[in-house]
């Protein structure tokens, strides 16, 4: 995964609370076994007047000409709640989204973001609202910068906010390292734990 240190891009605001993973990628859009081919299904219910025929709804924020190439989403409370489907993050990533900024996230969604190199940035609702108002005026000019090294959000000619991201998430994103590979390097400690644990809880081990 490429390291994520800083990203600047056009931001789109979808501020309704409780946007669930089925709204991000409807289940019926997940038609093939795999992690790709999902971008067209992103927000399908809102994005298209007719999802089957892929007729865009000009009112939907991502379909506005000024929002072309949006790569940062501003969201409402509990963004990514609902089903644990990682397809929601795969769809966002394939569409080109690199960061989501919201007052709170579905916990599984946030973890899925990090595993795929997307930054889930926590910011109080009032500040998300302020950013949304600034970028809405001219999304192309008022691009948003997400700086993970300094944990700072800034807008060209607009406000700047500091945010705080759990170390675990930030380091995973900044390093871009493969978590399985990293954990396998701790194999000896895991084996030692299992040997001790098996004596204490033999019923936990089925082989």
């Amino acid at each position: 995964m490429p390291p994520f240190t800083e990203h600047t891009g056009v931001a789109a605001a979808l501020l309704r609370p409780n946007i669930d993973t089925d709204a991000i990628i409807p289940s019926r859009e997940m038609t093939s076994v795999g992690k790709t081919g999902l971008a067209d299904g992103l927000f399908a219910v809102w994005r298209y007047l007719d999802a089957a025929a892929r007729v865009p709804d000009p009112q939907f924020v991502l379909n506005r000409p000024a929002q072309r190439g949006s790569s940062v989403l501003l969201g409402g409370e509990n963004f990514g709640c609902g089903s644990s489907r990682e397809h929601a993050v795969w769809a966002l990533k394939e569409y080109g989204v690199r960061a989501v900024v919201a007052p709170s996230f579905g916990a599984i969604f946030a973890a899925n973001c990090v595993r795929n190199g997307l930054a889930p940035v926590l910011l109080p609702a009032a500040q998300v609202q302020a950013l949304a108002e600034v970028v809405a005026a001219d999304p192309k000019y008022h691009q948003l910068t997400v700086d993970l090294l300094h944990q700072r959000l800034s807008v060209v000619d607009g406000p700047q906010f500091r945010f705080s991201m759990p170390d675990e998430q930030r380091q995973a994103l900044v390093s871009g390292l493969d978590p399985i590979g990293q954990t396998l390097q701790l194999g000896e400690r895991i084996a030692a734990f299992e040997a001790r644990d098996r004596a204490l809880r033999p019923w936990a081990y089925l082989a």
């Binding site: 609370p17 954990t183 734990f193």
Partner: protein
């Protein structure tokens, strides 16, 4: 089951579960946790296993991984002759990929022809795969259901599932802890589904943001294992990391003799260890709250978030009464979607469909409770009613008691085990703007099909509504002999 530390401070159940699985503290503030069980299903299991194989990672302990077919399988009656056919376009590929990948990795699959196939969170407890004190993950958000056994069980994404399969561990940041006390006794006709809906309605769908929520109190002790599962099932709708109920004799009685539960001399040893899995007197929580049950009535959702729930005898609330502007806007949007106006009575609202099933309410006790109301009665004309047992074992047990005949005589479809129409996956669906009263867990926009209007409720409320042809209070029927 301490690890030999002289740790005398009172611990919560969650503290103990976390300590039991802690392998190492990592440099970045995360904890490396041991994962005892990984459960997969066909929606993502095939992807995860394929992806592991591509990366060249073997499954660390395939005997501790399990898989079932539930999410997109055909649940229409008489499935046995139809092979892998399912109504979801492309669905067969998910089934076959999962079958092939689990076979290649040596993982036990509850396949379509397995008598115990069913919904993961129904099958896992039935088989004794989840046990008190275990850690269990599954790429399904309702994995919190299994916290009812005093296990640390939570939903993860596919990549996390891959990590758990390859390393038997996960990196996790320690969640906050919370305890919710249910005080008093459940009135007649009111159950676990009503308890959890009332809690989420009161505190909001983000009320437990990332916390491990322990459900406690006399009323929880009095719940059966199946009812505890219903309670914990919807912890994720409360934004919890997971839900927990401390194990007790009710838990041990349920598990004794199940296929993967400890056998022989291991059983008393395990039970002795499990008896320590409770919150000590004086254990600290980041938050505690209480909810009184004595006045609780049957609950019903009116909107598009589980927090949009009221007592069945209430009226549709005005959006302005919401906690803040964003919630008011969301409530207004929800009412528009649901075709409701503030001040309208919920009871009496005509319905098109009644659905009984899902990992929330598809177990034997749910079916018994619904059948009790349906016995000798008929579904109202024009209402379509479905009952989908959660597993082959539930279906067999229900049929042994003749419950299937009660459902069929009442005019219900009696189906094959699976997740069925809890969600719309592109195959079967309810009609646009159809009003469905459902024992499922999510009433999101489009959850059960484009434009479908879902009202979440308990099995008895769904049964009563099916008979009345409209949203109905089950207590009226329970009072008539």
């Amino acid at each position: 089951m301490s690890r030999g530390r002289a740790d005398l401070a009172p611990s919560s159940l969650f503290d103990k579960l976390w300590a039991l699985h802690r392998i190492a503290e990592l440099d970045d503030g995360a904890t490396l946790l041991h994962i005892d069980r990984v459960f997969l299903h066909e929606r993502t299991g095939g992807v995860a296993l394929q992806s592991l194989a591509e990366a060249g990672h073997p499954v660390h302990r395939p005997r501790q991984a399990f898989a079932t077919l539930d999410h997109i399988v055909d649940t229409l009656p008489g499935r046995a002759g139809r092979g892998d056919r399912t109504l979801m376009p492309g669905g067969e590929a998910f089934i076959r990929t999962t079958r092939e990948a689990t076979r290649a990795h040596g993982i036990r699959l509850f396949d379509l022809d397995d008598p115990d196939q069913g919904i993961v969170h129904v099958v896992s407890p039935e088989q004794g795969i989840v046990l008190p004190g275990l850690s269990l993950v599954c790429p399904d958000s309702h994995t919190c259901t299994q916290g009812a056994f005093g296990a640390l069980a939570w939903g993860v994404g596919s990549s996390e599932a891959e990590h758990a399969l390859a390393t038997q561990t996960l990196r996790a940041t320690r969640p906050r802890s919370m305890r919710v006390w249910f005080d008093g006794q459940l009135p007649v006709g009111v159950g676990a589904k009503d308890m959890i809906l009332a809690l989420i309605a009161r505190d909001g769908a983000s009320g437990a943001r990332g916390a491990v929520v322990e459900f406690a109190g006399e009323a929880v002790r009095a719940l059966s294992m199946e009812a505890r599962m219903t309670l914990c099932n919807m912890a994720v709708e409360f934004s919890a990391f997971t839900g927990l109920v401390a194990p007790d004799d009710c838990t041990f009685d349920y598990l004794a003799g199940r296929p993967h539960a400890p056998q022989g001399a291991l059983w008393p040893q395990a039970v002795a260890a499990w008896r320590c899995l409770h919150s000590d007197e004086g254990a600290a929580f980041d938050a505690e709250s209480r909810l009184a049950l004595d006045q609780l009535g049957p609950m019903l959702t009116w909107g598009t978030s589980p927090q949009h729930a009221s007592a069945i005898d209430a009226v549709v609330p005005a959006p302005e009464s919401s906690r803040d502007a964003a919630a008011a806007q969301a409530a207004a949007t929800a009412l528009d979607y649901m075709g409701l106006t503030p001040g309208q009575r919920l009871a009496g609202l005509p319905i098109d469909v009644a659905f009984i099933g899902s990992c929330t309410n598809s177990r034997l006790s749910d079916l018994r409770a619904a059948a009790e109301l349906l016995r000798g009665r008929r579904v109202a004309p024009g209402v379509r009613a479905l009952c989908v047992p959660g597993s082959g074992a539930v279906k067999r047990a229900a049929e042994a008691e003749g419950l299937h005949q009660v459902f069929l005589d009442a005019g219900f479809e009696w189906r094959e085990p699976g997740c069925s129409m809890c969600f719309f996956a592109g195959g079967e669906q309810f009609g646009r703007q159809q009003r469905v009263v459902s024992t499922t867990n999510r009433n999101f926009e489009g959850r059960q099909g484009p434009g479908v209007r879902t009202h979440l409720a308990s099995p008895v409320t769904v049964a009563a509504s099916a008979i009345a042809g409209c949203l109905a209070d089950p207590r009226a029927l329970l009072r008539t002999p």
